[in-house]
């Protein structure tokens, strides 16, 4: 369009409206709206304004309901009504007229009608239903502008249930010759996708067409949908990655029309959208990332103009580079780019730089080290937003050495912060850091006290809860526990002696609980003193009744004898007439228990927090009550989900084979932090064994000294100091090339050197903030686990598991064939330790030293031997029988030999690889398990490697989770020299757990010698016990309703090109031996059983790119365990 025409066009509307519409443009100040607006500005008080607007509303109301009002006047009235609503006055009477205007007006009036509707109503408003017909009519109009209006209003708000009515018309518009209509149609479909994804599922191929549209505007619009869909399911769109890369290449290369430029940058919004999509697709996917590297590099290079928009693209680019599979030279450039942000004098860019640092600092902690001086400066920035963002970085780099300084900074911020949301967030972070890295008891208690006072009653309730849990469960050292509690008592007593009125309620509750539980630890502190302090809390007027009941409970624990009882009596008398029933109840308890000290001691035993509380979760003590009630004609109990189902069934005729309707909330349960409870206990059991924990805690005070000693090495790296050079060299960083290190150094030295006085201070701060970072980074980069000394490590849940973990003289094995060659070395080491331990624990007298020497002697030889084997995994063969061979002088075909010893009735079935269990100089135990259709057989091979015969071999197996029964005739066997004895056991699961373990002891005797024994353990995944269960859909339906134990979770889908549900179920079927009963559309039902005859049913449904799985079984822990294995199976796939 030429300039002249354009100018004319711009001028036209005002010219035209001058004649016809004196109220709609610049001159509208003379209109009624203008009068209203000017009237308001002349007013002096809010009260006058209210009066004026109310008058205005009355007059509008009169006019809109008058039949004589023309549509043109109506349009003017609507504008005034919109204005009144904007000022905060309700004009709901006009809503229906807005709809009428959209319906009946001419195009120009319609436009105002639609605008009013979109401003007045939201998509759940019932009046919106009246708009559907109007929209339908306008979508079919020949006037393109009316079509545009209809599409515009539809993509802002539309009743979800009415989408099917207009969907065909909107779909049709995707083929419209005008691009503006196609674009608006795509955006309308995007809106539909957001509010009702199922409705538009069938037109996914049309989205693809939109993506390939010849008009860039339509293509850009379609990216909104793709971003959303890829976010939900990145796996499903990998094939499009190359297309997105090509589009981005063209955009960056300036191939789009000039129209799309923004401040001479080509289509920045489009670029950013594409970068976001690419980072989603490239995440954890090296091959997809591979095709992006070039265009990312180019994007970085092209963005050179110094304008906000360029930085916006750069920022997105950097994020993408750090999200996808890393490439060293890109990372290098991205890091440099972050540097430009951080060092920029423009505050907005600095802010984004800090954000980028926060994002990448976990992968590349050295980047924080590089910008430490900027970080320190930002920490003192007058703008709280900048400060807050800086704290976020510090939070990410916190370790045991810098925790005190960082937490200090956070608390400092919390004291000046006024925003509740930030307070809640930051308080949670401080509590997390304190629990993770606390250097000593005093610091921990004091920090938590500050958290409680600052966080007050805003903070998440789980902070005080987990703090109390931590105190009561304790850690590994009893002495440490005592000290911690004692310190808490001391500090809380002194707080109560001060001004308790200032403390928040939550904190008072914590204090009361701690004093009630642990004040006896301080012997010189009399219970009566504590009781008086607590009673003072009750008298304060702002103490909430919830806090009061905490206080009363604490008093009940404390009122033992003497003076305390009288205080308690006094208090209980006051409150036993309280109007609050809870308080009254507590007061009654206090009264009675303080009188009967014997009863009190039984009800509230001292220090009971340590005793694990046995909870009868089956509620069996109610059985009598229930059966009585049933006999009396009560309806049997139904769990909530069953009730829901029946309700749903009652409401509508279900077309499903069985009455299943998954509640929508299921999709919201997160997969990330859900683990099977059984697994959790295993891992906590393992983390429990840390013998030097208390030692570490004790030496913690030295750490701060260490900071000064390590000045310049791990802390602040002074510029141009030789130390710095050496420090950098010392840190191995495989990700960064030497040239880049040089660059980093030079950029580092570019920072101006400020005046020395405050600089000194800052350097000191830097040294304490960034201490331990570089060493940590090297650890991370090497891919090892970080050995942070965590002080408050939670105690193992079950004491049994932790002790067995350390006592077990065994090589517990999870048989995963893929790691066979690694395991071989480990096993060997383990088995040596095993034999040593066994030997010493059995107190062998004469043979001890000899045996040890022999064991050690063979150890070396074995190691080299296994190394050779480990490097050539091909030896392992298909059935991976060539596991570690503990007897080096044996011929390598021993496994084959063992295989030949498999009992005849089992030889036809496939068996697991033969795993060495344990060995010493004379015996050599291996085992394998065989899956039969209705049982699992464990075969133990006892190989006599000595030169003499062994008699009286007795093998005893035991397990908590499994019932073991011997298959062979007699448990006692003999083995002549260099021969094999075989024992068979049939295993059945008693209590399901993710992995089950059998612990065994073999005792034996040489013809002339003392009895000896060896211990071992054998670990099996639960999946060995799972068998398919063949049922019909109807049977499944009835079974489903009967089972009470269930679990739900979202699992990842597998999409190998074919139908994802079928593909995923196939994987599960293959790996876990499940039986797929039926697949019906988006849902699938699967059944299996645990030996013997304990069924478990699975219902899965495709839901927003994931597989919503619901497991049910009559066996308590089974669904959880099976869910874990399903998750594993899908992850491994």
């Amino acid at each position: 369009m030429s300039d002249v025409v354009e100018k004319t066009l711009t001028a036209l509307p005002s010219l035209l409206s001058l004649d016809s519409q004196p109220g709609s443009t610049k001159l509208s100040s003379t209109s009624k709206l203008g009068t209203l607006i000017r009237g308001i500005t002349e007013l002096t008080s809010k009260h006058e304004e209210e009066k004026l607007i109310q008058r205005e509303l009355v007059s509008i109301k009169e006019q809109v309901s008058s039949p004589n009002t023309s549509m043109r006047q109506m349009k003017e009235l609507m504008v005034r009504a919109i204005y009144c609503e904007m000022l905060g006055y309700e004009a709901s009477f006009s809503y229906i007229h807005a709809i009428k205007l959209a319906q009946q007006g001419t195009a120009l009036e319609k436009r105002v009608g639609y605008l009013a509707v979109s401003l007045f109503l939201n998509e759940s408003h019932e009046l919106l239903l009246l708009l559907v017909n109007t929209v339908l009519k306008d979508l079919q109009s020949t006037n393109l502008i009316e079509v545009c209006m209809a599409l515009t209003v539809v993509s802002q708000m539309f009743p979800k249930d009415m989408i099917p009515a207009i969907l065909p018309l909107v779909e049709e518009k995707l083929n419209h010759p005008k691009e503006i209509i196609r674009r608006k149609a795509v955006l309308a479909l995007y809106k539909f996708y957001l509010i009702a994804p199922n409705q538009v599922q069938h037109i996914h191929n049309k989205f693809r067409k939109a993506l390939c549209d010849k008009d860039p505007g339509v293509m850009t619009a379609s990216l909104h949908i793709y971003l959303q869909m890829i976010e939900e399911n990145p796996e499903g769109y990998k094939d499009l990655a190359a297309s997105f890369v090509t589009i981005l290449k063209q955009v960056v290369g300036g191939k789009l029309p000039m129209d799309f430029n923004y401040h001479s940058v080509p289509a920045p919004w489009l670029q950013i959208q594409l970068l976001r999509i690419l980072s989603l697709l490239g995440k954890n996917d090296p091959s997809t990332s591979e095709i992006m590297y070039e265009v990312l590099d180019e994007s970085l290079r092209r963005a050179e103009i110094n304008h906000n928009i360029t930085y916006a693209i750069l920022y997105e680019c950097v994020k993408c580079i750090y999200t996808i599979d890393p490439k060293s030279d890109l990372l290098e450039k991205a890091a440099k780019c972050i540097g430009n942000f951080v060092l920029s004098p423009k505050i907005n860019l600095k802010y984004l730089g800090l954000k980028a640092l926060t994002y990448v600092v976990q992968q590349d902690p050295k980047l924080a080290l590089q910008h430490q001086m900027t970080i320190i400066e930002c920490l003192d920035h007058p703008d709280l937003i900048i400060k807050r963002e800086t704290l976020e970085i510090l939070f990410r780099i916190t370790n045991a050495q810098n925790v005190t300084v960082i937490v200090d900074k956070m608390l400092e911020f919390l004291r000046i912060n006024k925003d509740d949301y930030t307070t809640i967030d930051l308080v949670g972070k401080v509590a997390e850091l304190a629990e993770k890295y606390a250097p000593d008891n005093e610091w921990f208690i004091e920090t938590m006290s500050t958290v409680f006072s600052v966080g007050g009653d805003l903070m998440q309730p789980d902070i005080p809860n987990s703090f109390l849990k931590l105190l009561s469960e304790g850690f590994d050292s009893v002495e440490e526990d005592r000290k911690l509690r004692l310190f808490a008592v001391d500090s809380y007593v002194s707080l109560l002696q001060g001004e308790p009125g200032k403390l928040p309620q939550r904190f008072l509750q914590v204090i009361s609980w701690v004093l009630g539980e642990y004040s006896f630890l301080r012997e010189e502190l009399e219970a009566a003193t504590v009781l008086r302090l607590l009673a003072k809390l009750l008298d304060m007027k702002n103490t909430s009744s919830e806090t009061k009941s905490w206080v009363l409970m604490a008093m009940t624990k404390l009122c033992e004898r003497g003076a305390g009882v009288s205080v308690a009596q006094e208090v209980s008398e006051t409150y036993s007439s309280s109007l609050d029933t809870v308080l009254r109840q507590r007061a009654q308890e206090l009264q009675h228990l303080s009188r009967h000290s014997e009863l009190r001691a039984r009800v509230l035993p001292r220090d009971a927090g340590l005793e694990p509380l046995e909870v009868d979760s089956s509620l069996s003590f109610l059985d009598g009550f229930v059966s009585e009630a049933l006999a009396a004609g009560a309806a049997p109990y139904k769990p909530p989900h069953q009730r829901q189902e029946e309700l749903a069934q009652a409401k509508a005729l279900s077309l499903e084979p069985y009455g299943l309707s998954l509640p929508i909330s299921m999709s919201s349960c997160s997969i990330a932090d859900r683990q099977s409870p059984t697994l959790l206990s295993i891992s906590s059991g393992l983390s429990g064994e840390s013998p030097d924990l208390s030692h570490k805690g004790g030496s913690s005070t030295l750490k701060l000294d260490g900071v000064k000693r390590l000045w310049g090495r791990e802390g602040y790296l002074a510029q141009r100091e030789p130390v710095e050079e050496s420090a950098r060299v010392e840190v191995p960083s495989p990700l960064r090339s030497p040239s880049q290190q040089g660059e980093a150094d030079s950029s580092h030295s570019q920072t101006p050197i400020p005046t020395p006085e405050p600089e000194q201070e800052k350097q000191q701060l830097a040294s304490s903030l960034f201490v331990g970072l570089s060493s940590q980074s090297s650890v991370c980069l090497m891919g090892k686990s970080e050995p942070t000394p965590q002080r408050f490590r939670r105690k193992a849940k079950s004491p049994g598991s932790s002790s067995s973990a350390s006592e077990k003289t065994s090589n517990s094995l999870v048989s995963t064939p893929s790691t066979v060659d690694n395991l071989m070395c480990n096993n060997l080491l383990d088995s040596n330790i095993t034999s040593e331990l066994v030997v010493s624990s059995l107190e062998q007298t004469s043979q001890l030293s000899q045996g040890l020497a022999a064991a050690n002697g063979t150890c070396d030889a074995e190691l080299t031997d296994s190394d050779v084997k480990g490097s050539s995994p091909s030896l392992c063969g298909d059935n991976a029988v060539a596991a570690a061979d503990p007897a080096p002088h044996e011929d390598p075909c021993k496994d084959l030999l063992l295989t030949s010893h498999l009992p005849a009735e089992l030889s036809g079935l496939s068996h697991s690889e033969i795993t060495p269990l344990c060995s010493n100089q004379s015996l050599d135990l291996s085992a394998s398990h065989v899956q039969k259709e209705d049982s699992l057989v464990l075969v133990v091979f006892i190989y006599n490697s000595s030169d003499s015969d062994i008699q009286q071999i007795l093998l005893e197996l035991d397990s908590e989770e499994i019932e073991v029964s011997c298959v062979c005739d007699s448990a006692v066997q003999e083995a002549s020299s260099h021969s094999v004895a075989v024992c068979q056991y049939s295993l059945t699961v008693k209590t399901p757990s993710v992995h089950v373990e059998v612990v065994g002891t073999v005792s034996y005797q040489f013809p002339a010698g003392t009895p000896q024994s060896l211990q071992f353990s054998y670990k099996l995944p639960l999946t060995c016990f799972i068998r398919p269960l063949t049922v019909s859909t109807e049977e499944y339906g009835t079974m489903w309703l009967d089972f009470s134990h269930d679990t739900k979770q979202n699992l990842t889908l597998i999409s190998d090109g074919q139908e994802p549900l079928a593909a995923t179920l196939n994987v599960l079927k293959k790996k876990l031996q499940l039986h797929v009963v039926e697949i019906i559309g988006m849902e699938g039902i699967v059944a299996c059983r645990l030996l013997q005859d304990q069924p478990c049913l699975m219902h899965c449904r495709l839901n927003a790119g994931t597989l919503a799985v619901w497991l049910r079984s009559p066996v308590p822990a089974l669904p959880d365990c099976l869910m874990y294995h399903c998750q594993r199976a899908l992850q491994e796939h």
């Binding site: 369009m1 001419t106 195009a107 436009r111 807050r388």
Partner: protein, 156 residues
Amino acid sequence: MMRFLLLFSRQGKLRLQKWFTPMTEREKKKITRDMTTMVLSRQPRSCNFLHWKDLKIIYKRYASLYFCLAIDNQENELIALEVIQRYVELLDKYFGNVCELDIIFNFEKAYFILDEFLIGGEIQETSKQMVNRSIEASDMLQEGDSSEWFEVELFG
């Protein structure tokens, strides 16, 4: 995704409000109050970004008018700032040297322009020419007009 856009004066008077996600009247009032107090109390030379609950607030002042845009947490702040800038440019192109009074007295026009630029919380069209052409085309609609001649201009 963008959540809402508010325009208010230095005195805290609301000049335009657009909510991209459904909200109750109460929420709207609360947010408007929070936004005006938060933004107006910012010191000069602070950054243009704020946190509010789990959203990020991007604001910019043009003469006496504040533009305040809320975006999701994972969105890009700088591009949001440019969204505001582009909207101001669009207003400027339409009104010609736009000032607060233009927006006060013609707020429905400001809404029409906004609806062509952003829709449902996403960018719809970034080209200045395109937005203005469709606004002008609609402006010239007359009663009973078959409006063919400018359709050629708009869509041709």
